[in-house]
């Protein structure tokens, strides 16, 4: 059963004396793209880490809701979460295809190699590139490969940390299209980014974090299938960002 929403209640994270998150609460819904904004060190990546089950919150709760109750099994949960982080999670000595096939095996993806090939087609890594060691990839190629890894197991929750980094115009536009498709297919999308232009129009939920606190939250309902019409515009996002981060 797919996750329909994520409820974050009063989540705090401390690293020793440093407080990375202070009582953050928010709701993430299926079919919505939430832009998580904030200056460096605001706690965005920590929140992503907690949502992805990699980081344990010091206090507070995260509930992953299905239609028939909460998902509590960590393995079932991770099967539904796709993460694109700052690092690519790729082994430099393995080729792009081998990396994806390896992760496919860990995720229990049926026909992992075929699925990897299909995703490499989607992210436009050609035959020559996919059979080269990942250490020879450019930043943009690594980002495409990392995106393919995040989508490998067809997750219902996508947590993306600076997904547009290193992508050229074509890559960025393909990613924006992929995000629009994911949104239409009722996935939960959380995107941490400073590239406000890239997510303009797609975003219907904005959250701003500053020094670990949620300082702003705004939602706009969108008509189904018209993601480009009612989302936050670039100007909206820029105003919200500057208003709350100085």
């Amino acid at each position: 059963m797919s996750i329909r929403s994520i409820s974050v209640s009063n989540v705090t994270k401390r690293y020793g004396l440093h407080r990375a998150l202070a009582g953050v609460s928010l709701e993430l819904d299926a079919g919505s793209l939430c832009a998580l904004l904030g200056p460096n060190g605001a706690g965005k990546s920590t929140l992503l880490g907690i949502l992805s089950t990699l980081v344990r919150a010091s206090s507070g709760q995260v509930a992953y809701r299905r239609d028939d109750g909460d998902e509590r099994d960590p393995l079932a949960l991770r099967r539904q979460i796709g993460v694109l982080a700052h690092s690519s999670f790729m082994y430099g000595e393995l080729t792009g295809l081998e990396n994806l096939a390896f992760y496919g095996q860990l995720y229990g993806v049926a026909e992992a190699r075929a699925r990897a090939q299909a995703l490499l087609d989607d992210v436009e890594l050609d035959e020559r590139a996919r059979n080269r060691p990942a250490r020879t990839y450019s930043r943009g190629m690594l980002q495409r490969l990392a995106l393919a890894r995040a989508l490998l197991h067809d997750p219902t929750v996508l947590l993306l940390d600076e997904p547009f980094t290193g992508l050229d115009r074509t890559g960025a536009s393909s990613l924006a299209n992929a995000l629009a498709d994911a949104k239409q297919s009722e996935r939960i999308l959380l995107v941490v980014t400073h590239d406000l232009e890239a997510i303009a129009g797609l975003t219907d939920h904005v959250v701003v974090l500053k020094r670990g606190k949620l300082v702003h939250e705004d939602r706009r309902s969108q008509a189904v299938g018209r993601a480009d019409e009612l989302g936050f515009s670039y100007e909206d996002l820029k105003t919200i960002y500057h208003q709350h981060t100085g």
Binding site: L54, G92, L106
Partner: protein, 233 residues
């Protein structure tokens, strides 16, 4: 079945990465060979006489020190591109990840031992292969224990600074019983070496082999129990 396939995937990935780069195996083997060579100059007299009591100690020093090099590098690789996080995000048991890593490291150490043991036999004239079965048991059990304990500590130190310095400091005290058992068991096999009337003390060797088996069981259970809490932030 899925669990075993995940363990195998992690171990095979480590071996594949190593067979491409060859940095861990070359470094470990070179280091172990240098240790043996230096000690051979110190303990073999001009007349070719060897002090037999030191041979097991030299063998295990070479294995232990080269093993630390391998451990350190094998886990360092999981820091590059943050691949450990990639593994931990996968919907597979953390136990599978731990066992896969430990099997990979055990394989590296066993490969080094395949070079180091015959080298010890040649350089020191030690009749190590007179009792091949107990020798193989000693090597395998000690390697398993070493890899399991080493993987736990290497994973624990993954996010710490100065981990290269800290790893031997925290690892060796826990490995002392294993290294003593390995050394004593090997010494028992070499007892009376060079004296045609003397025989190896197989009873003592098997006592230490059983000790190694118990050590392995205790630390495998402890490692499986603690690994998840060590890798979660």
């Amino acid at each position: 079945m899925e669990f075993l396939s995940q363990v195998a995937a992690v171990a095979w990935k480590d071996l594949r990465v190593e067979f491409r780069s060859r940095e861990i195996l070359y470094t470990m083997t070179f280091f172990a060979a240098m240790v043996l060579l230096i000690f051979s100059f110190a303990f073999v007299t001009r007349e070719g006489v060897v002090l037999p009591d030191v041979i097991p100690g030299i063998l295990w020093v070479a294995v232990a020190f080269s093993g630390t090099l391998g451990l350190s590098r094998a886990f360092d690789r999981e820091r590059e591109s943050d691949t450990m996080r990639g593994l931990l995000l996968a919907p597979c048991s953390r136990t599978a990840i731990f066992l896969g890593k430990a099997i990979g490291i055990a394989t590296f150490i066993l490969i080094v031992e395949i070079v180091v043991v015959p080298m010890t036999a040649v350089l020191f004239g030690a009749p190590l292969f007179d009792h091949a079965v107990p020798l193989v048991l000693i090597l395998i059990l000690a390697t398993i224990g070493y890899s399991v304990v080493g993987s736990v500590f290497a994973a624990m130190l993954l996010r710490t600074r100065s981990r290269d310095v800290l790893l031997p400091v925290v690892l060796y005290p826990i490995l002392v019983p294993l290294l003593i058992a390995g050394t004593k068991a090997t010494a028992a096999l070499l007892e009376g070496a060079g004296d045609p009337t003397a025989v190896a003390d197989l009873d003592a060797a098997y006592f230490w082999i059983k000790f190694l088996a118990v050590y392995d069981m205790i630390f495998i259970a402890t490692a499986l129990w603690t690994f998840e809490s060590l890798v979660i932030e």
